[in-house]
Amino acid sequence: MKETFTITAFSENHIGLLNRITIIFTRRRVNIDTLTVSPSAIKGVHKFTITVFETHEMVEKVVKQIDKVVDVIKAFYHTDDEIIFQELALYKVSTDILLNSNQVENIVRKSSGRIVEVTPTYTVIEKMGTAEETQELFEELNKLGILQFTRSGRIAVTRLSEELLHNFLKERNLLWK
């Protein structure tokens, strides 16, 4: 059975590493739904957050292969109920539709979105949430006309009480002594 999995990989910040990770998916014909790469809380360590819609068995194999990459420190995977996750979406509409009625304002307020910039010609709205929630706001606003829409990949933290990477690093540091 396929479901959404969130894969997180912590790695050195080396050129080409993103490619080394994505080819693991390509080779097995696993489609990456979202991908976010950013520095992690640990200096010099980068974090990849990848979502896929796949079987547990396949995800397990892929994660083992990611973990095997020399410059990857550690890779984990989680189901949606094991993590708290968010995506960010930005919507650009014309300022005219904002001014012409209360509709835009109501929609934004109802969806817990936020207006981040208003100029004489355009207005930018942001919303944090799941892909479904940001999609819902897109559909509402699009009835009035959207100029641009963009959505980020997923970011996530675990609901676990133990910090997997932290524990792992502690263990490795001990190993090196």
Binding site: G16, D67, V70, W176
Partner: protein, 566 residues
């Protein structure tokens, strides 16, 4: 003490620090500074000029496989580097430690489609254990130290270091520090004693235990630990093609080869055992046949260094992670001394059937033409299992791996996972360089021989005494066998109009002889083995010689066939 040197000198000094004695390579524009520096270190590092970069990487593989050291090859940018790729893939899938050094265009030209510029790091990314583009001379010692550490530790594999020409020229203060650990890389998984105890408990209860062993034992240098383990456990064992020389072929517990053209008993017993103990092997599809009907009745223990191999193809009941050099002695301690004579008797009964139906006619054929099996038998009788056997890919490879007698460690070199035709000749050359005191005998077919035949020139230049046994059936025999069995004998493009191999060998300055008839064979083999230098012995083979037993693709290992259906 540090001194200011150019990047290319730093590279040579780094290679010396890593104990490199041979480089197999081919010069070209983007690697010329390194070749220039090489001249200053000829007393420490010898360069072997191959005739094609593919020859260089396969030679480095052959060298690594027999010596246990890291093989080193070198090429220029662009076509030089891309010609290495097949060998790199081969080394990756067969876990061979190889460091490839390639020249690259000067760094300001990267990404400009400069002459002989190729994104070698990009191309080799899926097929290397690690790779790195060096653009600054200062990075060279670090990159080389990492490269050797990564190539040889854990599950070994190929590493490629691409060095821009400006990095080869620029000068810096050279200092070398060997790599001892990398924070993101854990080559040896921690050993979990509880898992080993669980495995021992299963072994102690088993009535029909069966060991499948692979190259992990050889890579871990654990041949002695393995022998102690099986002798105490009394368990019959079978090898994957890359595991063959981990245990002498004549050992009473050695039941033979697994896989598509493995032995009869060893295939059948996969589906009869109650416990399967897989050691340093990866359940390749050529070994398992159809996974849905492979060893379903058995509990499975998997001893393995690479966590990604656990449950990849076959679900295990107990996974023992770690280097088998460390885990096997602990396991041996926890198991009871046993003998499984009745169970071994079942193997022997099946082996007898195979001997009568297959092996006897391979060894002592009644056909007019010479068969491959008998050539190998006759060579066994002379080498007594003390030679290193190298093969190319195809029917002769299966005959050689089934029948070669091997008594010494690291004595069988073949392209197992990738099945690279053309591997044999350069790999045999590398093997002879890596093990100069041993007889190195290459079995090669007429197809594969012509893929890298230019390496006869390299052999002539080094005068390495490689003995080439060319089994010539004028066909791409393995493909022809499949055409015969599965494609109604429609021999599409498998007939070869061959050249006069003897003239070719002699043209390269190598002694050669052709044998057409059986009575000449023994004396010709003696002549080849007694000859001081390299030698090509061409044997004309029966054209429809086939390899059996066979597990047809997609079939269950229990459906192994002993002879073609009439």
């Amino acid at each position: 003490m540090s001194k200011k040197v150019s990047g290319s000198h730093a590279l040579m000094l780094s290679l010396i620090e890593e104990g490199v004695d041979y480089i197999f390579g081919y010069p070209g524009g983007a690697i010329m500074p390194v070749y220039d520096s090489m001249m200053d270190y000829q007393d420490k590092i010898k360069h072997i000029l191959t005739r094609h970069e593919q020859g260089a990487v396969h030679a480095a593989q052959g060298y690594a496989r027999v010596s246990g050291k890291v093989g080193v090859c070198m090429a220029t940018s662009g076509p030089g580097a891309t010609n290495l790729i097949t060998g790199i893939v081969d080394a990756m899938i067969d876990s061979t430690p190889v460091v490839c050094i390639t020249g690259q265009v000067v760094s300001p030209l990267l990404g400009t489609d400069a002459f002989q510029e190729t994104d070698v790091v990009g191309i080799s990314m899926p097929v290397t254990k690690w790779n790195y583009l060096v653009t600054k001379a200062e990075e060279i010692p670090w990159a080389i130290a990492q490269a050797f550490y990564i190539a040889r530790t854990g599950r070994p594999g190929p590493v490629l270091i691409d060095i821009t020409k400006d990095a080869q020229f620029n000068e810096f203060e050279f200092k070398y520090k060997k790599c001892e650990s990398i924070r993101s890389y854990e080559p040896r998984p921690k050993i979990n004693k509880d898992k080993i105890k669980e495995a021992a408990a299963l072994i102690n209860q088993a009535k029909k235990p069966y060991i499948l062993f692979g190259q992990g034992i050889i890579l871990g240098g654990a041949e002695d630990e393995f022998r102690t383990f099986i002798e105490k456990s009394g368990i019959p064992a079978a090898w994957t093609i890359l595991g063959v020389s981990a245990l002498e072929t004549g050992h009473p517990l050695n039941m033979g080869m697994l896989g598509m053209h493995g032995n009869y008993a060893t295939n059948i017993m996969n589906n009869k055992c109650d416990l399967m103990i897989a050691i340093g092997m990866r359940f390749d599809d050529r070994v398992t046949g159809n996974l849905n009907s492979f060893a379903k009745q058995a509990k499975i223990i998997h001893l393995e260094i690479d966590p990604a191999e656990i449950d990849k193809n076959v679900k295990t009941d107990v996974a023992v992670l770690g280097d088998v050099k460390e885990t096997l002695p602990i396991l041996t301690e926890f198991i009871e001394k046993r003998e499984h004579s009745e169970w071994i008797g079942e193997f022997k009964a099946l082996s007898k059937i195979e001997y009568e139906k297959v092996i006897k006619t391979d060894f002592y054929p009644e056909t007019e033409g010479i068969r491959m099996g008998e050539v190998i038998r006759r060579i066994n009788e002379r080498t007594k299992g003390n030679a290193i056997i190298v093969t190319d890919v195809g029917q002769h490879q299966m005959f050689a791996s089934r029948y070669a007698k091997l008594n010494t460690k690291r004595s069988f070199v073949t392209s197992g996972g990738l099945g690279t035709m053309g591997f044999g000749l350069p790999a045999a050359h590398g093997a002879k360089i890596g093990a100069p005191d041993k007889d190195v005998i290459l079995f090669v077919g007429d197809g594969g021989f012509q893929m890298t035949i230019q390496e006869l020139g390299t052999i002539n230049q080094t005068q390495a005494a490689v003995k080439v046994v060319l089994l010539n059936n004028k066909y791409l025999g393995m493909v022809r066998q499949w055409q015969q069995l599965f494609f109604d004998r429609r021999y599409a493009e498998t007939f070869l109009m061959n050249p006069d191999f003897i003239t070719i060998a002699k043209g390269f300055g190598i002694e050669a002889k052709k044998v057409l008839e059986r009575p000449e064979l023994d004396s010709a083999i003696d002549e080849m083995l007694n000859h001081k230098g390299a030698y090509v012995l061409e044997v004309s083979i029966e054209k429809e010689d086939n390899v059996f037993p066979m597990v047809p693709t997609g079939a269950s290992v229990s459906d192994v066939i002993l002879e073609p259906q009439k």
